[in-house]
Subunit: 344 residues, 2 copies
DNA sequence: TAATAAATCGAAAACGTTTTCGAAACTACC
DNA sequence: GGTAGTTTCGAAAACGTTTTCGATTTATTA
């Protein structure tokens, strides 16, 4: 019941704490005999090193912090899983915080993690976040920082992203390739970089194909808890405003599925009347009817990559080397399904 | 850039570390003047207490551990959110681990959390888990432990659950009330208590209503990553085996939605030919067509309740009191939707 | 056997905080 | 001015580990 320490072992064996410590860590200057004795006793007493003391002494906790906008989210929960799985392999634990898309909370949580002295921080920014002092604080403390998905280009740290612009371009080009002439876009909130990039990719694809870009065809949705409803609402509004639409590129699968539901209720046939491309490849997208063409956004892989990068930086710091921030761009792909398959 | 300590402040003000510490914690035996000086300097130097040292000294880390079978899951991610939100209010951080339904991993993760000396542990058991030594280890160390959802009745700790049996009974009774005579059940894996309880509730409802219980009508699905596919497969199999079925009570919404998809593809009309009740009230259930009648399983509230309970136990331990394990049963409700609305 | 090399051990400092307890300084009162 | 009481401070121990460096013992060699 009592918690055993190095000292307990040392006293029982009539040796010093030093030797016990060294024996357990297999130092070369301890005899085989005492090593055996120590290890055996440690086992029978069920000795566990006091993590608090180890942390204090070694100045690291083998714990990292993760701040994400939302947890209940197909993409982000996959990222979490990726990070945790990779962290576990390297013996790291992960503290998770949810910013709820709030800048104030995000800032407070960064403070919290810094005062907890985690070994590094992984973050995906809140939609609201437009100032980056809190992030620069992390860097100023020379603590490893990796951003993913919702990033701030200005901040000097490593980043794990996809090429949102290219992916959006691909998605829009696909709509054009199958014959769409008037393509709407449901975009995400105004601030996040990826929402901007996806919009730009959409726009560029139109222009490259000599199709007019019409700002009136771009609808905004916050992509919060109400994504599905936003999709429905936007779709209904779109049908009222512009009934000549023949394709929509939508920022997120969940919004897209909402839109499809509303359109189908209005008697619009997909893909015959309107083709739809989503974004993220949520598992439900392959399952609904018609199945949804979408861009695969590899959440699990992003999580893994984010931790790997962070780990590299942690290792580099320990060796005193400085680490040049690196941006990793993960591959995406267009997955074509029934929502854009028109058999002409 | 250099990390400031109490000592730095003390030296700059020519006072002792003791006084600095006391000033910052508002001890009564420090003069107002020095308190002001200390606080001001602490602020300008951006002093942050070294969490490692505080932990070592106070023997607590204000951090708890959470072990869940899966992260990417509508119910569990809601629980995570509930736990984190509540923990944040009390100034606690949460380390999350995923057991992947594996007993071996779960056991290892408990070890890890214990050696990290978290202040308490919240756990929902893996499907595989049938031995509880690792849990008893936690209790033996007098560390607060709270289980939720997938619990082991034998283990002497606090538990947050719903009355699965009653909820399943309610669901089945509802099917009977609307005229179903031959009701199938897609149950979860064999070991988990809640999967057993839901099955028992289903069975009892049948018997109480003088309907025959037929084991052949009970299908098993593991409810892992393949839930949707399992639902489809089970539904198709069911139609082959017993085409006289007029109702199904299904362990999980996702499986139910899979089943509905398969049934609709087979030309079965829901609810006219077969009525369906799911379990968990996933947000998609209100959104698909037909919308799914289900049992509301309050994930967020369970998470909150779990942390609240853990927090009570942590407080009690600090006061040296012993805490009698408590089981909290949260309310559920039947949400009737289109999948069981037959207008006779 | 003496000198040297190798093997084995332990004292002590350090990590940064919290808290006890005694000492010093100051105030008030007769 | 002396006493008692109050206010303000700081030395020191403690939390449990890691690591340096010197000391001691044992083995090796000429």
């Amino acid at each position: 019941m009592k918690i055993v320490t190095l000292r307990d072992i040392a006293e029982q064996l009539n040796i010093s704490v030093t030797t016990v410590s060294k024996a357990l860590k297999d130092y070369p200057d301890v005899s085989k005999k005492t090593k055996m004795q120590v290890r055996e006793l440690a086992k029978t007493l069920n000795y566990r090193p006091n993590a608090f003391a180890v942390n204090l002494r070694t100045k690291e906790s083998k714990t990292i912090g993760l701040i994400i906008p939302v947890i209940v989210h197909h993409f982000f929960s996959n990222v979490i899983k990726g990070i945790i799985s990779q962290a576990e392999k390297k013996g790291y634990l992960v503290i998770i915080l949810q910013s709820d898309e709030s800048y104030t909370l995000e800032k407070k949580q960064v403070e919290l993690l810094l005062s907890q002295r985690v070994d590094g921080i992984i973050i995906s920014l809140a939609n609201e976040t437009a100032k980056y002092n809190h992030l620069n604080d992390i860097i100023a403390q020379d603590k490893p920082l990796v951003m993913f998905d919702k990033i701030a280009k200005i901040v000097k740290c490593s980043k794990i992203i996809i090429d949102d612009r290219k992916a959006a371009y691909l998605a829009t080009q696909h709509l054009i390739d199958i014959g769409c002439k008037r393509i709407a876009h449901f975009r995400g909130a105004l601030l996040p970089q990826n929402s901007i990039d996806r919009f730009l990719g959409y726009k560029k694809a139109l222009l490259d194909n000599n199709l007019p870009y019409d700002p009136a065809l771009v609808y905004i949705c916050e992509c919060g808890d109400m994504s599905f409803e936003e999709g429905k609402k936007n779709a209904i509004q779109l049908m009222e405003d512009h009934d000549d639409i023949d394709g929509i590129f939508i920022n997120t699968d969940l919004v897209a599925i909402g839109a499809m539901t509303a359109l189908q209720n209005l008697g619009v046939k997909i893909p015959e009347d309107i083709c739809i491309v989503g974004f993220s490849n949520w598992f439900m997208s392959s399952v609904i009817s018609p199945s949804l063409t979408t861009i695969n956004q590899p959440g699990f892989e992003m999580g893994k990559a984010a931790f790997k990068q962070l780990f590299r930086e942690i290792k580099a710091r320990k060796k005193g080397k400085h680490f040049e921030p690196k941006t990793v761009v993960l591959e995406t792909e267009l997955i074509t399904r029934a929502s854009t398959k028109i058999t002409v």
